[in-house]
Symmetry: D2
Subunit: 328 residues, 4 copies
């Protein structure tokens, strides 16, 4: 099989760097072109010394013509810039496939929302994929089976999630200064995080009668990882075996979802494309507490993008992706 050339736009950030690392271990993809904005002209070693590579970072405008020939483009450009650039490429006649890791196109009907465990069919038949947000991935995968099975009472779903610092990207900000975040935890954007519409859109495609989501994100002193704790009220009596049956059936074709008997830690999925999910049934309040953990840069971003790329090219969904974490 000849290698598929891929280009990465915005390769100077964390998701770009993870894509390069994952593709270095992919059997069919091969990085052929990297762009960056303020870091263009440098080589990878200067920007990402951990990648141990002298590949050059190019200026988008100088390589636009070459991009038109590349069969797969990953865009790691910032939110609110990415879609503009991608539409410019499409208008210039780009006919290949694109996976956009930004927020920009996730609610856009021209783009397929790329959560493979829920929308496998749609992705396989697409050319333009909007890669989901990290919180959205963890929360939606956790509750999707119960939403689809219509087991819920129509009361708000309460999601609280914890993220490490890399979720906010490389941009400097006093909240992510080491001395401020170390030994600290805080909540932000309570009820107003931009992933809420994206998650509710996924719910709506599983069940038109879905309940609203109240979501509170938090930052804790980790560099990677997301843990979501989601509470959903049930409308009828249930039991843990019944809920396990619902989950296991829903995910029987999903190699990257793993149900655990004990609550999983974020560190056990660090570096892995797995989403581990634990269910706790609380009889007293007729509710289910769902713990889901992912690596925000792998299953929550670049690993999921590779998974989508595999589907776009009819490769095995698992190509180039690991289920083993780097621990400790």
């Amino acid at each position: 099989l000849a290698a598929i050339n891929v280009a990465i736009l915005g390769a100077s950030g964390y998701t770009g760097s993870e894509l390069i690392r994952l593709i270095s271990n992919h059997p069919y993809f091969r990085v052929s072109l990297l762009t960056a904005h303020s870091e263009s002209g440098k080589d990878l070693n200067e920007v990402h010394p951990h990648l141990h590579s002298t590949l050059p970072l190019k200026n988008f405008h100088e390589v636009k013509d070459q991009l038109l020939e590349v069969p797969l483009i990953f865009s790691c450009l910032p939110h609110q810039a990415s879609l503009t650039v991608l539409e410019e490429l499409l208008e210039s006649g780009y006919a290949g496939k694109i996976i956009d890791l930004s927020n920009d196109a996730r609610l856009n009907p021209k783009w397929q929302y790329g959560l493979p465990e829920l929308f496998h069919e749609g992705i396989v038949n697409s050319k333009l994929v909007a890669n989901p947000g990290c919180f959205a991935t963890a929360i939606a995968l956790g509750v999707a089976p119960l939403i689809a099975a219509n087991l819920f009472e129509k009361l708000p779903i309460i999601a609280n999630a914890l993220s490490g610092a890399s979720g906010a990207g490389k941009t400097l900000n006093s909240q992510f200064h080491f001395a401020n975040l170390y030994e600290s935890a805080f909540a932000y954007k309570i009820g107003t995080h931009q992933h809420v519409p994206e998650i509710e859109q996924s719910f709506s495609r599983l069940n038109s009668n879905f309940p609203p989501l109240l979501f509170t994100p938090h930052v804790v002193p980790m560099s990677r990882g997301i843990l979501a704790t989601t509470t959903i009220f049930l409308k009828t009596k249930s039991s843990l075996p019944e809920l396990h049956e619902v989950f296991d059936t829903f995910y029987k074709e999903s190699p990257f979802v793993s149900r655990t008997l004990v609550p999983p830690s974020t560190k056990e999925v660090r570096g892995s494309n797995l989403c581990k999910i634990h269910l706790n049934f609380n009889e007293r309040t007729q509710s289910v507490v769902i713990i889901s953990v992912i690596d925000n840069l792998i299953k929550g971003a670049s690993g999921q993008a590779i998974q989508n790329g595999n589907l776009l090219f009819n490769f095995s969904e698992e190509s180039g992706l690991s289920k083993l974490g780097l621990f400790p």
Copy 2:
């Protein structure tokens, strides 16, 4: 004013060490006797080098007679051992005051539950005080005003809380091995944590019609600090100004509760006896998300014990306690 001698039972742990540190800065209390179990015979420097002190740690049985003369005893003994020892002292004729930091007596009607912001009157008139749990303090202080004001819909209150490692004490355990917890987060005892009955007992004293609590604790990579995120559903329309009014009225005599306009971080109360609380009203789901942060070893343990001690001796509630955190 002559100093009040105090004894600390179980001074080799974190809460004992914090009591010693706080009392060193207290205008009226003075440490006169320290006991320890396996560490008895050593001096403080060996067990707690940060205390820079050569005070000796004694064996309880050898100093039992001296304890009978001490007007105030703090017990930092382990859960399930503390009450047994304290009852032995009481049976031996101990007539002074006791503040027990363990779980043992918190649901025991002979002991006053020592959350000063809710039960000030009862504490002032007590001799035996059961000092609250750390999660219980953060969660109960967060929702108490809404419980008391009867504003809630009778649906479960959903509390998710984050704790640093010191909450679990010094006992060695693989979950708290540095290499395992660093860069990790996990949930535990979902719906079954021992602080739930203690919190609901507080609710019941504020409002007999209180809703049930569904509580999920988490450990995150910090050494100190608790952040509780509690969601409560309202029965009628409300607004943030109205909720602020309810809170501010409820806590107008409480020097250690501070309402914040932005979500507080755990680090800004590290080393302080403050509980900072932030309210977010979510109109769409008719619910309130409450963020409360404390230092688990100060307001969640030893600082609160000093606060209770101040009330027992009619000192100013703030004596020896700081509202300033050690940051960064």
Copy 3:
């Protein structure tokens, strides 16, 4: 005793915030005026929520006249700006005392270098004190007794030191982004750090025949703390008891230096003004390895500034300063 009013220039940074916290517990000093640059006009709560205070931050130029009346000024202004501002005050007729925490005046003969354990006499008789650097404090206190006692072989002294992130201040910088520094360690300014001349100046005042210093600083993932490991070669045979005797004699009047029998950790001096020092004699290489730890913001900055302030006003050297650390 009437309180001494003090002003803090540049109160929006870490050292300014620590001064405010320490002075809140000082028996004789009282904060009367705070200035800031870009944060002026705000109150402390906005900039330092952990200080729980509504004191206002003023613009220097607007309060310059008031500053002329304040008997003690601490300058926490940035390196290369501080001395300019202070000279402007002196030229305007300021006749009070000044303690400058910046690098600017440490090699300036008009200013007394403020390391109290080495230059107590000079400080007591000064009005202008240049507060030492954090690395300089840890390293100089560690080797000073051996330098003074002329025990060394004239070979380079090798100092390696570890610092937390707060040593670099609040300025945003990608090296101190949480995601970059967490789980990382790196060396910088090898052999060229700006504290070298300051340390050698101290050596020269103890012994004109002092050896050169080769210093390599490192950053490790902590928010606070410095640990210096300094190796010095001896010219004649020695023994640990002899070295202990030299040290203990040298520091017999120094309440904030404590020699430890086991290597101390940075955390046991967090929040304390102590410098803990451990000596290891290596017979095979005829050398001494000295471990010294301080809290970079206390003994390495603001605590030492208070200690200097105490000397300037003939207060007890220990006023307002704690030897107890906040642990864990």
Copy 4:
């Protein structure tokens, strides 16, 4: 090529777990047998949830006969137990190859010391390899070219190194309790660490006139990573270009040593088998400061063991090993 079956003794620890992870990505090796002591009878998921595997952990005595048939055994057994077990296997007629990751055989003349960059030839011709210690790897690789080139003054080499917590293994110990180590750093075994003879043995094979080593290890709050800072005095004038030439020539056949122009961080080699080395020439003291970083569990243990395994079987030295780090 048919897969080579390998067995791992002591697979329940960190180095065993890393071997399993690395072999899962190796083109020629395949895990066929795992043993554990107290954890035998469990499957990998219970002991190492991050490995996402149900392979069973066996009791050594029950599978001893099977072990005799396995062509390659990695021993991750504890120091002081490993060699006893391996000698028992050899006495029972084991005729395959063994790589021992413990300290036990590193000074034993029957075993080849397995630092491939220094002793490639010896390893290729061996059946029994003693895998080097983590500190020993970082320090020896850093100074070996200067030792071999005889450029040094015969004064002690001063090495200071920083390690994360995983270097001490999984055994519970209060120094590695999260609450104790977080935000802390400390030195230990000053001048007496067990890796000193191992490092000097390497020096002696490069140059019989080698200088003595004075080594001070430190623990800093990381889970992985080693950074060694080594100072060596030169006997004649030199320059950075000359030193670079010496290094680059020495390591021209070593794919896992990389010289960097800026001091490397431990995090940029996390998950990688690289040793990055930076040289700083200090003209004033006629000395060289060498910074070397490795991942203690990869190049400092399991990755190096795979590298040795590759040499034993004449595979490419790089098989199954990555030079890319997992960052951030």
